[in-house]
C-alpha cells in the first residue's frame, strides 16, 4: 500500500477546503447518503435546467478526507455537464475506483482527469472505497429521483 498516493496534496486540499460545500439555491433534485460504518452523511443538491444540464451542484455533510475530497472534486467536475455526460463520468469514476488504472472519458480534459485520478489510490484500501464512492452513489440516486435515502452499504 502507498499512503502517499492515498493522501495526495490534492486530496488533502479538497478534504480541508471542500468546494461547493453549501446548499444550491432553488435546487430541484437532491438525495441523502449515509455510511453506516462511520456514521458519515452527505446531502447532494442539484439544479438542473429544462434539458437536464447541471446548472449548479453542491453538497452538505461531513466525513473523512477521502469522502470530502471526492464530493468536492465531483461537484467541481460535473458543473455544467449534461445528463449523458454526467452518467458517463459517474460510471467511469466507479469503474476506475473498482478496477481500472486509467480513466477513459472524453468529457473531461486532462486537468480534470488528473483531479479525478487522484482518488484512484483508494483502490488499495477496500474499507475506504465506500468513502470515495458515497457522494457519487448519492448523486446517482438524486439523478434517478430515488425515493429512499441512500444507504452506502447497499452498493
Amino acid at each position: 500500500m502507498n499512503l502517499k498516493e492515498l493522501y495526495q496534496e490534492i486530496i488533502l486540499d479538497h478534504g480541508k477546503n471542500p468546494r461547493n460545500l453549501r446548499k444550491s439555491e432553488n435546487f430541484n433534485k437532491d438525495a441523502k447518503g449515509h455510511n453506516p460504518l462511520c456514521g458519515d452523511n452527505v446531502h447532494i443538491f442539484l439544479k438542473l435546467d429544462e434539458k437536464k444540464k447541471i446548472e449548479d451542484i453542491s453538497f452538505e455533510g461531513s466525513g473523512c478526507a477521502i469522502s470530502m475530497a471526492s464530493a468536492s472534486i465531483m461537484t467541481e467536475l460535473l458543473n455544467g455537464k449534461n445528463e449523458s455526460q454526467t452518467k458517463e463520468i459517474i460510471n467511469d469514476f466507479l469503474e476506475m475506483i473498482k478496477n481500472k488504472d486509467k480513466l477513459d472519458n472524453d468529457n473531461l480534459n486532462e486537468n480534470e482527469k488528473t483531479k479525478l485520478m487522484s482518488l484512484s489510490g483508494v483502490k488499495q484500501y477496500p474499507m475506504r472505497v465506500k468513502c470515495a464512492t458515497l457522494a457519487w452513489h448519492t448523486l446517482t440516486s438524486a439523478v434517478n429521483d430515488s425515493q429512499e435515502d441512500l444507504n452506502i452499504e447497499k452498493i
Binding site: H34, P36, Y125, P126, M127, N151, E153
Partner: protein, 405 residues
C-alpha cells in the same frame, strides 16, 4: 481425486478410538472435518485474526474479504442469483427460526395454515409451533406413505386455501427419503405459496441449484457439510429478505440509529446482527472447496453405492427391520431389531468402534406415526466405505448374540 482415498483427508480416521478403528456412521448428526478446514481455522486464529466489517486496519480488511469470499462461494455453490441472498446464521435451526419468526410477524394471521410434513425434524416444527401460540395459526402435516416418503399427492391433499407457507425437508434424516421438492415448489407457487426447504440433510449429499429448485428459503447446517460447528446458512430470495422485518437486533445490522428510531442496514447486513462466527465462516470456504474438488455428483454416486450395499446387507440380516423404503434414498438407513432397544444396540456397537445414533433423531412425530419411540440410524458421509457396513453388520450380530435373538 480418488474417492476411495478421501478418508485420508480426515485426520480423525488416523487415530484409534478406544483401540478400535473408527467406523463413523453418524454423519447425519454431524460430519467429520477434512484437514484443510481445520487448518484454515488454525491459520486464521494464529496469523490473521481480526473481527470483520468494522475496523479499517489491515487484519480487519483481510478478514472481511475472506468472510465475504465465503458468501460468494456459497452463492456459487448453491447457484443463488445474488450473494446478498446468503445469510450466515448459527445453524440451520436458527435459519428456520429466522424465517418462521419474521415471516410469521409479517404475513401470518389468526386462522392461517402452515403446512409441514410428518417427516420434519423438531427444528422445522417447534419454530412454527411458536406461531400457533403467538399468532393462533394452525399447523397441518402432509402424511407419509408406506415407504416413508412424502409424495406430491400427499402435499396436494394437505394444502388448504389458507395455507400461507410450506416448510419441508429435502431429505428425511430418518427414512432417507429424498422429497420431490421441485414439483412441490412448483405446485405451491402455482397457488402463490412460498416454500422453505430444510436442507440440513440435502446440502451435504445432493446437488444444489437454488434457481432451478426455485425455493423461497433453504436452510443449511454447515457442521453436517464438512464445516465448522456453530454455523448455518439461510438462502432466501432477495424479494423476501427485502420485505421481511429484521430478526435479531444489534451492531452491524443498522443504518442509522437515534433515540427515537432506527433504520436498518441493507442486505445481507440486516440479518447479521452482532459479531458473526467469523472464523467459522472463513473456514467454511474450505468445506465448499473440498466439496467442489470432489464434485457433488461423485459424492452422491459414491454414497449411493455405499448405502445400497449397506441396505442389502441389513435386509439379509433377519430380525433387522429397516424403517422406510424410499425409491430415492439419501445416505441414511434407520432400523430396529426386534427385542433390542436402539440405545442398547448403539452401546454395544460402540464397543466395536461403530458409531451410530439411537433415539428419535428429533423426529418424534414420525416415530409416533410408525408406532416407535426410537430407532437406530446409520448415516454416511463421503469418507464411508462398504466395509463400514460389513462391520456394522458384524456388530449387529454381536448384539443379537448378547440378547440371545
Amino acid at each position: 481425486m480418488n474417492i476411495e482415498n478421501i478418508k485420508k483427508e480426515f485426520p480423525i480416521f488416523s487415530n484409534k478410538v478406544q483401540n478400535n478403528d473408527l467406523v463413523y456412521l453418524d454423519s447425519a448428526n454431524s460430519s467429520q472435518k477434512p484437514q484443510i478446514v481445520i487448518d484454515r481455522i488454525y491459520d486464521f486464529y494464529t496469523k490473521e485474526f481480526s473481527n470483520v466489517g468494522r475496523s479499517v486496519h489491515y487484519l480487519a480488511v483481510a478478514a472481511t474479504n475472506f468472510y465475504e469470499n465465503t458468501r460468494k462461494s456459497v452463492q456459487k455453490y448453491i447457484n443463488a442469483e445474488f450473494a446478498d441472498e446468503i445469510v450466515f446464521t448459527k445453524g440451520a435451526t436458527e435459519a428456520i427460526n429466522l424465517v418462521a419468526n419474521t415471516f410469521g410477524q409479517k404475513f401470518l394471521n389468526e386462522g392461517d395454515d402452515v403446512l409441514l410434513t410428518e417427516l420434519e425434524h423438531h427444528s422445522n416444527y417447534v419454530p412454527w409451533h411458536f406461531l400457533r401460540k403467538t399468532k393462533k395459526i394452525n399447523i397441518n402435516f402432509a402424511e407419509i406413505n408406506d415407504f416413508g416418503e412424502i409424495t406430491i399427492e400427499s402435499i396436494k391433499k394437505a394444502i388448504t386455501n389458507k395455507t400461507k407457507i410450506i416448510a419441508l425437508t429435502h431429505l428425511s434424516n430418518v427414512t432417507g427419503a429424498i422429497l420431490p421438492i421441485k414439483e412441490i415448489i412448483s405446485l405451491a407457487h402455482s397457488k402463490n405459496i412460498p416454500v422453505l426447504i430444510d436442507g440440513c440433510q440435502g446440502a451435504p449429499h445432493l446437488n444444489l441449484d437454488m434457481q432451478d429448485i426455485d425455493c423461497d428459503f433453504y436452510a443449511i447446517s454447515c457442521h453436517k457439510m464438512y464445516g465448522p460447528t456453530g454455523l448455518g446458512v439461510l438462502y432466501a430470495k432477495k424479494k423476501w429478505l427485502e420485505v421481511l422485518p429484521p430478526y435479531q437486533g444489534g451492531g452491524g445490522m443498522i443504518n442509522e440509529v437515534n433515540k427515537e428510531g432506527i433504520t436498518y442496514g441493507e442486505l445481507p447486513n440486516k440479518y447479521e446482527a452482532g459479531t458473526m462466527a467469523t472464523a467459522q465462516v472463513i473456514a467454511f470456504n474450505e468445506s465448499i472447496k473440498f466439496l467442489e474438488n470432489i464434485g457433488i455428483k461423485n459424492i452422491e454416486k459414491h454414497e449411493n453405492e455405499v448405502i445400497k450395499y449397506g441396505e442389502e446387507i441389513l435386509r439379509k440380516n433377519n430380525s433387522v427391520k429397516l424403517i422406510g423404503n424410499p425409491k430415492s434414498r439419501g445416505g441414511v438407513l434407520s432400523f430396529n431389531i426386534d427385542g433390542i432397544h436402539p440405545h442398547d444396540i448403539a452401546t454395544i456397537l460402540d464397543e466395536d468402534g461403530v458409531a451410530i445414533r439411537a433415539g428419535h433423531h428429533c423426529c418424534q412425530i414420525l416415530h409416533k406415526k410408525l408406532n416407535l419411540t426410537a430407532s437406530a440410524r446409520a448415516s454416511v458421509g463421503v469418507y464411508n466405505i462398504k466395509e463400514d457396513f460389513e462391520k456394522l453388520n458384524e456388530s449387529i450380530n454381536k448384539c443379537k448374540k448378547i440378547f440371545d435373538i
